[in-house]
Amino acid sequence: MVDVVIVPATRGQLGVLPGHVATIAELKPGIMSVHDGNGVTKYFVSSGFAFVHANSFADIIAVEAVPLDRIDASLVQKGLAEFTQKVNSASTDLEKAEAQIGVDVQSALNSP
């Protein structure tokens, strides 16, 4: 039982409270926060789907989910710089798209 879950949907953060309207949402790389009586737990999710059911149940399927405190902030900074540089130096569209995904992931990790 939790109070609120905030998931990173493709069109922005989606807050889910009990009694939320039934929804299927695609997820993008980002921070998922779970609020319960004692505080907030934050996870990084790579991608996936969230199903909110009408009976106040929600399923979140993610390919990877990592508690945020297990992520090394300095490595994230380093990765961000690396991918930003790759975006600028990319020659083909594919390379550029790949680097852009890298930037998105790393900046999502960097945001909290």
Binding site: T10, T23, I24, E26, L27, F49, F51, D59, I60, V63
Partner: protein
């Protein structure tokens, strides 16, 4: 290599598996001047136990191999069982959302048979092949085109015999490196891109316990079929209409993404469950063959000792009777 050795040895002790192995083995060890394999010097009276000794040695070796294979399977099983059980969380939400529709009636059925690459693991591959064949029969008709996609070497060998024309794609050597999601999603992507489908039916052995596994079918529908079922409003899928869909530019696109993601998740679980069942089945198969080798060894030891003792007794009798003849 170990398997080849095992097969060779298996052929050699085949005569021993006849109903009366001792009787069958005994005449071979009796002296015979005609048989070239026993180089008993002319006139020698001892009974050669060479053949039985050799066979005992080979049975002992077989037992060592099967015991080692059992140990290997047991240790692999422990590692993979945890992952298989954890991966069940991946498909459960999909069942909650879309329901399970194994009996849905569509035109293009694709049966994905998951099997192992290696043998010596009991009947897991033949059960999944049998189930796939049944599914194909159920789903074939005048205007239907059922197809197989075969994962793993063993099901391929069994299916290619009589349903070669239905096989669309085969994939093997999946388990060479430890299974991971990335690898399976690439595989799922391959299948989706190369095969047209209305419904994917994935056949695998669900791990239940070390000695039991359940042949299972999970169904993944194509986005068009999902849309059609939602409109007809039947069963669990009819409820999908009440869900708001977020993300993607259109509803169809999101449903497409959802179906592809569902397939990769279900596939991931299926290969893990199957690998886990394979290890369990191999463990019990190797356990029973080690036990069997032990029994064969016991019977051979008995034959060997009896023959040896008979030879000693004969010699003793000869010596004593010779001595008593001299005295008298």
């Amino acid at each position: 290599m170990a398997m080849a050795a095992l097969r060779r040895e298996g052929r050699r002790f085949a005569p021993l598996l006849s109903p009366r192995p001792i009787a069958a083995a005994a005449p071979r060890s009796s002296p015979s001047f005609l048989s070239p394999e026993e180089d008993v010097p002319f006139g020698a009276r001892s009974i050669s136990t060479q053949v039985v000794r050799n066979r005992m040695k080979s049975v002992k070796n077989i037992q060592k191999i099967t015991k080692a294979m059992k140990m290997v399977a047991a240790s692999k099983l422990r590692a993979i069982q945890i992952r298989a059980e954890n991966s069940r969380g991946l498909w459960q939400p999909f069942i909650a959302l879309l329901g399970d529709t194994p009996s849905i009636d569509v035109k293009k059925n694709v049966i994905v048979t998951v099997s192992s690459d290696k043998g010596l693991c009991g009947g897991i591959n033949s059960t999944s092949v049998r189930l796939s064949k049944g599914l194909l029969k159920l789903n074939s008709g005048p205007d239907k085109e059922p197809k197989y996609v075969v994962v793993g070497e063993k099901a391929k060998v069994q299916l290619i015999r009589d349903s070669r024309k239905h096989i669309h794609l085969t994939i093997s050597e999946l388990t060479k490196i430890p299974l991971n999601y990335t690898q399976v999603s690439v595989l799922a992507d391959d299948i989706i891109k190369n095969v047209e489908f209305d419904a994917l039916k994935i056949v695998f052995n669900k791990f239940h316990s070390v000695v039991s596994f359940i042949p299972t079918v999970s169904t993944v529908l194509s986005p068009e079929v999902v849309e059609r079922e939602v409109e007809s409003g039947s069963g669990k899928l009819g409820e999908l209409d009440s869900y708001e869909i977020e993300g993607g530019s259109t509803r169809g696109e999101t449903l497409q993404n959802l179906a592809e993601f569902q397939f990769s998740c279900v596939m991931f679980n299926a290969v893990l469950e199957n690998a886990c069942s394979e290890m369990g089945a191999r463990m019990s198969a190797m356990d029973s063959s080690s036990r069997n080798a032990g029994e064969v060894l016991d019977r051979l030891t008995l034959t060997y000792n009896r023959t040896r003792q008979a030879a000693i007794t004969t010699e003793l009798t000869e010596i004593i009777s010779g001595a008593s003849a001299l005295e008298g």
